[in-house]
């Protein structure tokens, strides 16, 4: 990977983080649809990034978001699970002919159907973990299910909009 590519990735990560904790943090639709868009950054890392770097990136991104949400460790735990599954999940969904080198697994590169089957399970796992840990010690898991589904749909729609507006085919931000 070229150094300019790495720089643009790091810049993208910081942008996602700032956008999340400064703006999206205050956005909760209908009292139940949260917008955890920062996980799109992990989803859209280039395909050849393996599990260990993804885990480290997830850990620090999750930690940063946690500090601002005052939910110490919950975002980190949920995001780490995504970071761990992502590479395997990409191998499961590998298209015929394999991935190109340095490919971003975005909707523009891979098509809507592929992106749906790639991102939605990961988003659901992340949200389920987050709201489950968040409601531990209370008997509120059933009301969390509503939050999980509403937030997953919201994040998925937002991630499509962000990709259409800010991403180009075959290249990053």
């Amino acid at each position: 990977m070229s150094s300019s590519r790495i720089l643009s990735l790091v810049g993208g990560g910081i942008l996602y983080f700032l956008f999340q904790v400064m703006i999206l943090k205050n956005l909760v639709l209908f009292g139940s649809a949260f917008c955890f868009l920062y996980m799109l950054f992990i989803l859209l890392l280039p395909v050849q990034i393996k599990t260990i770097p993804t885990l480290l990136i997830s850990f620090f991104l999750g930690l940063g978001v946690d500090l601002f949400y005052d939910t110490m460790g919950i975002h980190t735990a949920a995001l780490l699970a995504i970071g761990f599954i992502r590479y395997r999940w990409l191998q499961v969904l590998v298209p015929t002919g394999g991935y190109d080198d340095d490919l971003q697994p975005s909707m523009l590169n891979m098509g809507f159907g592929w992106f749906l089957s790639y991102s939605l399970p990961l988003i659901l796992i992340h949200h389920t973990l987050f709201f489950y840990i968040e409601s531990l010690g209370t008997d509120l898991f059933m009301s969390s299910v509503q939050k999980i589904i509403a937030s997953a749909i919201f994040v998925f729609i937002m991630s499509i909009i962000v990709q259409l507006l800010l991403y180009r085919r075959r290249r990053g931000i």
Binding site: G31, I52, F59, L67, D70, I74, A81, G137, T138, L140
Partner: protein
Amino acid sequence: MQRILLFLYKIRAFLLFVLLEVIAIWMIASNNSQQGAAIFNSSNQFIGSMLGAQNDVVEYFSLSSVNKSLVDKNAELLTELEKLKQPVDSVFIELDSLLSSTFQFKGAKVINNSLRLTQNHLTINKGSNHGIKQGMGVFNEEGVVGRVKSVSNNYASIISLLHTELLISSKIKSNDVFGSTKWDGNNPKMAKLLYVPRHVVVIVGDKVVTSGYNAVFPEGIPIGTVVEIKPGPETNYLDITIELATDFSKISYVYLVENFQQLELDSLYQSTGLNYE
């Protein structure tokens, strides 16, 4: 031996995952105690200043409603002041000073707030430099807001009343029956009043205020209004739902209250084995 090392090397990603997850879970667990370490939340200096900068921009949008609530509070205080004024023809007898100076109040601005999770927190722009201490009670002109959880030099983080583990000692204003207010995690406008015995007559519309028993809040700060009374699942207590007086979605300024005699009271309670939470 080499095989074991090779095997461990093979599953290195999994081991790293487990290690980082354990760190995350340790952080969750250590943060759940009501007094967390100050570096690990939004009262941290750096995070506080970033939240403060964001709030500097956003606060302009709520200025008019803040002004209105301040004017309302001023009007209320003026009425109270009028009642306390000495008529010219009366003699002023000073009460024992021990009775009058138990509480001290401070003001602060909220720079971070959440209300949709099950354990919500706020951050304010005052810290130990301004005399904020752990455990102080927090309220605004509408009613109770929460308690201070941890403090840095210039910022403090507050456990919101909308936190499923915070209990506020409260009483029903009309008949002085004691209970504990606790949020059930569902609706940020409603909470439960616990431990009110069945024989007590409670009417919809009764005001619930702080009891002043646990020495965090002075007596009589509004908490909410009773909206629903049911015989609870436990045989001894009523299941009372109250509508919170505080609108948590619009908090911008809060008051903090410190009880000078809290240490004395706490040690007394401890030595006698009592606990008024």
